[in-house]
């Protein structure tokens, strides 16, 4: 059997997906199914004086119409799993608005009809009498004493304050020879998975079981929370996440629509489907980022960092979704980045505004940290006249200093930051580009080089630090025929774990890849699991699979020892066979072992039949992938247009099971970061209206404008898990954004441009050039 771990093994998911035979939630059609459409608020903040649904109810083909008042006491409010401080203000999040609407897109009523066209027609027949209220669109404005209060019962728009600190920050700033200070905006983004959300609910009145097919990253957590909202025993709710068309955190959620469809299916005793439109996805599925803050870095003249502080306002939106309050706290955990910073402090105010909730978007709090710190490193380098590569080298945590604990108590597992930087500079031909830059400037052309050295907190994570458990589960079951079923709680949505988990099992059990079936995403089939987010699929989910395979192998070895008539420690596994060490001519196959375990006529009396093992893996720490990215760009100062000339990424995600999948994750993530850096901004105007409400107004990277990426890896295994894996799903969005911005700011340095807020659209770059020239 060739070794599979470490190989670019082609994906086992692909045959169904390239032939159109995948099954996404909207592909499900059930007999007697009806369709739901949702009336949403056009106002960011308004009192609902009256809702008249009578015309909609009379429309032919309409099955039911429900409003917030109809479900009071029938659907419990949506819970939030994160509580970073005990005094957190917790707004009550009803599934449908009751007296007030809090953001554009706030659900008000649901129409259920015989087809999706009639359901949408009937929305126009619902009459809502609104009393518009002054909106709070700007997070800083939300804190002013004269600001309208969004949640009147809470009496404030301040959701909570939070602080994290380590080392003596005040002393660091008192001793500083140089202090660099900059205000930064980490703009609000829309995740845009290509598959909008979709929910199908079916009630089995006989068994009293509700089945919910939903496009989610976390089927088991959906089951826990929705069963609570619907007062159903957890055993009477089955959640199925079939193929999921991308998540990026937007589907690391429990949404009110899941509870509403479940409720309607039970009430009507008919299957109900709701398919989100793209406009709804932009209005009412979570957004990401949205922090405005000031960072200060204290340094010695030689570039040694003494301390940093960051004071920030984070926009929660109108409500919390699953993890909303926890996201900006992740920024605080990673503020020291790859550097030995002896003192650090972050103070945060989290505020409510009349907007959709922010929550985990690919990177979730850590892209913000990398962006801030890596911009500061460049600003400091320029201030001190040090090469940006050199100032990073000077402050890096060294390979022999791991495990390394930051002053605020985060322990990094392993890494070699300078090796990644050196290799990235070499691949990018850094010195050559510096010369080219100099020559170009003489000709009035503006080339820039941007570096980003990042470290992320991944493999989420130890349960004590997670809102809802950080372990993962797996069952490996060898069937009587010797075929292997893997049940994983880590339900993937594009990352390819059906393939990487198959590779792990093949390696451990010596079976053929085609004999392994990975099953996930069905709470009735799979033991409780957490799901895939926080770059945890392989590092946590894969480790659980590895451990379950080990366990089942141990059982198989016991059975083999019995069959061979030798002691257990006399049995050696070679490929798929079990061999007697002392007499290698004696061997049994895995199939013979399976046969014996399931047909135990001749079998030890003290051993259980069957060949199944389950493992729950609890990680002892997070993992800390890292790397350096280098971007070279040229800016046309007449138009503000930026052209990416080269992009090099050298990443360290620990040991790798499938290099092809890793490369896909890294490149995809970098291009998503390119979207944040260059074009994306979820924009609400001062009246709280969502201006970027469709893909026509919110550009994401396309094939023709996406940069080409050169990818390489270095490898420092993680000591946290037996696979040595650190995770890779978020590396691109966490590491890449500042490389783009640093490159553009470097290009424009001779013009006096210090900093430009994202996104660097031609208009924003052009304005920054004009302003710098003007000053």
């Amino acid at each position: 059997m060739p070794k599979l771990v470490g190989q670019s093994f082609k994906r086992v998911e692909d045959p169904r997906l390239i032939t159109g035979e995948g099954q996404y939630v909207d592909d499900i059609q059930l007999p007697r199914m009806c369709y739901a459409a949702i009336l949403r608020s056009p106002y960011p903040h308004a009192r609902i004086k009256n809702i008249d649904t009578s015309k909609a109810e009379k429309r032919e083909g309409v099955v039911a119409v429900i409003t917030g008042k109809d479900i009071l006491g029938k659907i419990n409010p949506l819970p939030c799993a994160a509580r970073p401080v005990p005094e957190l203000k917790m707004p009550t999040h009803y599934a449908l608005a009751v007296n007030k609407v809090y953001f554009v897109g706030h659900p008000i009523a649901v129409v259920v009809a015989e087809d999706r066209y009639i359901a949408r027609d009937a929305l126009d027949l619902i009459e809502v009498d609104y009393e518009p209220l002054p909106p709070v669109a700007d997070p800083e404005q939300a804190l002013r004493s004269d600001a309208p209060i969004i949640h009147e019962d809470l009496g404030t728009n301040l959701a909570f304050e939070w602080k994290i600190e380590g080392g003596d920050v005040d002393a660091a700033f008192a001793q500083a020879e140089v202090v660099v200070k900059q205000e930064f905006v980490n703009q609000r983004l829309i995740p845009v998975p290509m598959e909008p959300r979709c929910v199908v609910a079916q009630w089995d009145a006989g068994k009293q079981i509700l089945t919910l097919w939903t496009s989610t990253q976390i089927p088991h957590l959906v089951r826990s929370l929705i069963s609570g909202m619907l007062n159903l025993p957890e055993t009477h709710l089955r959640v199925i996440a079939p193929d999921v068309g991308g998540g990026f955190g937007q589907k690391l959620q429990v949404y009110v629509e899941e509870a509403l469809m479940g409720y309607l299916a039970m009430k009507l005793d008919r299957p109900v489907k709701w398919t989100e439109t793209r406009r709804e996805n932009f209005m009412a599925s979570i957004h990401g980022r949205d922090q405005v803050g000031v960072m200060e870095l204290a340094l010695k003249r030689d570039g040694t960092i003494l301390g940093l502080r960051y004071d920030v306002i984070a926009d929660m939106g109108a409500y919390y979704q699953l993890l909303t309050p926890a996201i900006p706290t992740l920024t605080g955990l990673m503020l020291c980045g790859s550097y030995k910073i002896p003192a650090v402090r972050m103070t945060k105010k989290a505020v409510f505004t009349n907007k959709m909730s922010t929550d985990a978007y690919r990177g979730a709090g850590r892209p913000e940290a990398t962006f801030l710190l890596e911009r500061m490193m460049d600003l400091a380098a320029k201030e001190l006249g040090i090469d940006p590569a050199e100032i990073r080298r000077k402050n890096f945590i060294q390979p022999d200093e791991f495990p390394y604990t930051t002053p605020h108590g985060i322990t990094y597992d392993s890494g070699n930051y300078e090796a990644a930087l050196n290799r990235a500079l070499e691949l990018a031909e850094y010195s050559r580009w510096r010369k080219e830059q100099e020559e170009a400037r003489k000709q009035g052309r503006y080339i820039g080089i941007g570096i980003s050295s990042y470290v992320e907190i991944c493999g989420m994570g130890p349960s004590k630090a997670m809102p809802a458990g950080g372990w993962e589960s797996a069952t490996v079951r060898i069937e009587p025929s010797g075929k292997v079923v893997v049940l994983t709680g880590a339900h993937p949505h594009g990352q390819g774990e059906e393939t990487s988990f198959t590779q792990i099992v093949v390696e451990e059990l010596g079976v053929n890849p085609e004999d392994v079936m990975v099953i996930h995403g069905d709470t009735e089939a799979v033991q409780y699991g957490i799901g895939i987010f926080g770059s945890r699929g392989l590092a946590v989910g894969g480790t659980a699979v590895y451990m379950a395979a080990q366990k089942v192998k141990e059982k198989a070895r016991k059975v083999a020892a019995f069959l061979l008539g030798v002691e257990e420690n006399e049995v050696e596994q070679v490929d798929g066979n079990f061999i007697s060490k002392s007499d290698p001519s004696k061997s049994v196959t895995l199939l013979q072992v399976a046969n014996a375990a399931y047909d135990p006529k001749n079998y030890p009396t003290d051993m259980e039949p069957g060949l199944v093992a389950t493992a729950f893996y609890e990680p002892s720490n997070f993992t800390f992938p890292s790397g350096t990215h280098v971007c070279v760009c040229e800016v046309d100062i007449e138009t503000g247009e930026v052209k990416i000339l080269k992009y090099v990424a050298v990443d360290d995600c620990g040991k790798v099971v499938n290099p092809m999948l890793v490369e896909g994750q890294i490149i995809g993530g970098i291009v998503q970061a390119f979207g944040q850096a260059m074009m994306e901004r979820c924009f609400y105007d001062e009246n709280g209206q969502l201006i970027t409400g469709e893909l026509t107004d919110y550009p994401i990277p396309k094939a023709h404008n996406s940069p080409k990426i050169t990818v390489e890896r270095i490898e420092t295994p993680s000591p946290v898990n037996p696979l040595g894996a650190k995770g890779v799903g978020e590396a691109g969005t966490i590491g890449a954004t500042p490389a783009f911005i640093n490159a553009v700011c470097d290009a424009l340095e001779p013009l006096g441009v210090k900093h430009i807020d994202m996104p660097l659209t031609p208009a924003n770059v052009w304005k920054a050039i004009k302003q710098a020239k003007g000053s």
Partner: protein, 156 residues
Amino acid sequence: MRINVTVNGRQYSSDVEPRMLLVHYLRDVLGLTGTHIGCETGVCGACTVLLNGEAVKSCMLFAVQVDGQEITTIEGISQDGQLHPVQQGFWEKHGLQCGYCTPGMILASIQLLKRNPNPTEEEIRHALVGNLCRCTGYQQIVEAVQWAAQKMRGEI
């Protein structure tokens, strides 16, 4: 209204509402759910199908507009159980992750290679500008199309 359409070589005769989108006809009436819906505004390309051999966005057409014409969807491009070279290319080169944009991406690529059997990287990137992918960053999609082009020219 009654329409007669050939889809993937099979003839269908159906009564449809005049306002029914082609993509809903393919998915909900014919059960061909390989064609996906990502935006309903003609931006994302997830619903791309071939209409008389030309790539079109099936959310931008009514079913009644294709009366008497021929449609090919992702379910209709493999022949006798043999994957189309573009499908093979996407599998070989990791041209997909979540798979949602993939059917549309494959059909747009088939149209490109019909018009231009030896496209440059830039030509491939421009030909796919109407199809959005949020997972791959497009690089491996470009490689998949290059692989397919070579295969179709008999070089692999």
